[in-house]
């Protein structure tokens, strides 16, 4: 496991800048109904060989921050009121478009939720991967094709010589995602953004794909940003976790910290509402009431307060900031931060429940 090799979480005076750093990023959309604050002041970073998970429900803004990194959020209607994205200290957002493009697909690559729609239906799979190579490397078609064959083999696609000439619709779901991964790896990127990479797949296929990603991370020391709503997946694959709610990070910490000592009421809610396969029948699940808010009308104060069992008057007054709640905790270190003024109660309640 790569977990223990990861650099310490927050080096205030470390010499090397983080591999990829998102700093106070805000992404707003202007719509008829008002400003949708899809991402509202989000900061995180990821290092080589590390898996960072960004967890949240649909509409929490978890994909948008990743897409901003690759310049996939169209402006207008999107605006970036604040924030920066840095790759090894170089600001991506401030780069000229041409330079940004050079990073896309070579330094930072992305795989998407639905591999069927993410591949262009009218081009051969092999050509689409070759295009990725030839966009960033000066190689001949023949060389690119040989490289594609190698990649297809590496991601476990049987019979690559045949598959290279097929169209996406001739691939099964799992194979398509493998092809997407092959494409993403074509230029040996430092960072791989994986946006719900297995949501559209069956659980046995999911296991195949996750195994593949895990192997690639180890072999190539790639940093993986895993965006998902599936806490199970996070538990088995993430080194660190950012929990997002309504466009903000509400809790961030190491995997074990977040799962065993949640500090935010929302994280608590998520964990308590989950049915678990490893447990005999719980008497009752503990759901979060209500539904996630619309991002154009985020409640004042703590956005979670209308659904929160711990909420008090104070929660409405101000937006709680992401505070460090536990310094280096658990074995794997790192800061544990949460944006909740009732984190003590939350942890207490959680421990009680676990004991139950």
């Amino acid at each position: 496991m790569a977990r223990n090799d990861s650099t310490t979480d927050f080096q205030l005076d470390g010499p090397a800048a983080p591999l990829l750093e998102v700093d106070d990023l805000r992404v707003h959309f202007k719509t008829d109904k008002g400003v949708v604050k899809a991402v509202d002041g989000v900061s995180w970073h990821v290092e080589e060989g590390e898996t960072l998970a960004i967890v949240g429900e649909s509409g929490s803004g978890k994909s948008v921050s990743a897409m901003s990194i690759l310049g996939l959020v169209p402006t207008p209607p999107a605006t970036f009121p604040s924030g920066d994205i840095r790759l090894r200290g170089r600001s991506i957002l401030k780069m000229p478009e041409k330079q940004q493009r050079k990073l896309r697909g070579s330094e930072i690559a992305m795989i998407f939720q639905d591999p069927l729609t993410a591949l262009n239906p009218v081009f051969r799979v092999g050509d689409q991967i070759a295009e990725m190579i030839r966009t960033h490397q000066q190689v001949t078609k023949t060389v690119a094709r040989r490289k594609v064959l190698d990649l297809l083999g590496e991601v476990g696609i049987p019979n690559p010589a045949v598959r290279i000439n097929q169209y996406p619709h001739e691939f099964s779901g799992g194979m398509r995602q493998r092809a997407m991964i092959a494409m993403a790896l074509a230029n040996d990127p430092k960072v791989l953004l994986a946006d719900e990479p297995t949501t559209a797949l069956d659980v046995t296929i999911q296991a195949q794909i996750m195994l593949l990603l895990e192997k690639l991370r180890q072999d190539r020391n790639t940093a993986i940003v895993l965006i998902t709503h599936d806490l199970g997946l996070v538990a088995s694959h993430a080194d660190r976790i950012n929990v997002m709610y309504a466009g903000r990070i509400v809790e961030a910490g190491s995997c074990d910290d977040v799962f065993y000592r949640p500090q935010h009421a929302y994280t608590f809610g998520l964990l308590s509402s989950l049915a678990r396969m490893d447990k005999k029948r719980q008497t009752r699940l503990l759901p979060i009431k209500g539904v996630p808010p619309s991002l154009s009308r985020v409640p004042p104060g703590c956005p979670f307060h209308p659904r929160c069992r711990f909420a008090t008057e104070a929660c409405v007054e101000a937006v709680p900031t992401l505070e460090t709640v536990k310094l280096v905790d658990m074995a794997d270190g790192g800061l544990h931060r949460a944006a909740c003024i009732h984190s003590d109660q939350v942890e207490m309640a959680f421990q009680e429940r676990v004991v139950e």
């Binding site: 239906p121 990725m132 966009t135 494409m183």
Partner: protein, 310 residues
Amino acid sequence: MGKFITRRLAHAVLVIVAATFLIYLGLFAIGDPFASSGEKTVPPEIQEALREKFGMDQPFFVQYLTYLQNMFTFDFGVDFEQRRDVADMLANAVPATARLALFAIAIEIIIGLTAGIIAAVSQYTFRDVLITVITTLGIGIPVFVVGIGLRAGLSGEWIFPAVPRSFTIEVPWYQEVILPAITLAIIDAAFIARLMRGSMLEVMRADYVRTARAKGLSERKVIGKHALRNSIIPVVTYTGVSLGVLLGGALITETIFEYQGVGYLLVRAISQQNAPVIVPIVVFAVLTFVALSTLVDILYAYLDPRIRLH
């Protein structure tokens, strides 16, 4: 793919047989091509002679089958008015119509595609709004209004020879073709622009375009390769069908500009109630239209590999 083509062709043949039957039934069985028409009165004995001569005294089905058989050997029968082979008349009109159609299609594709792509890429800008307004006007205005407006406003010595010249003086073909072609192209170009804009916008929202961007491709490549190849499919379909319609004769435009193509031939035949000419031209139009539609479907399958499997 082979199976798909076979099935598509079989379908086309069925449709053609049924349609020709309807045409034949409609015009030959109901109307009598030899009856007095216009201001021409035909004595009964001559009507009788004509009927016998052209096999119209046979039972209906025999007539139809003979007709069908002749049609497939490009024998479209005889115009009873001038006693000319209709195939001969078509031999003059079809190339003229084809020239007009191809010219018009070329203009509309160039203008339509460019405008559509520009509008889609610069969505919400002034350019987009302008193009949208123009295309709406283009689609909304009937072709004969466009044609008449152009003819009234633009015809002159060199664009459209308003003053007839002795037939021995050679008139460059483009002089005759340019105004009708523009007339036809205006509306279709507007439609193509809209179609292109819409389908481009839809495609630009597709995940694979996002993938293409994520690959670090230049915007030119994203649009010009990934988006265009997919969004052009409906335009190809439309253009093909439109070509099918035009090759069957642009009735109104050819009439306005007195362009001697299939459409004008048909309009003249209709005004003369000349069924022996009407039927083959309509059959020809349907044939062309169905053939082009079939071709378009096959082309569609070529452009979109997903269709090929079926």
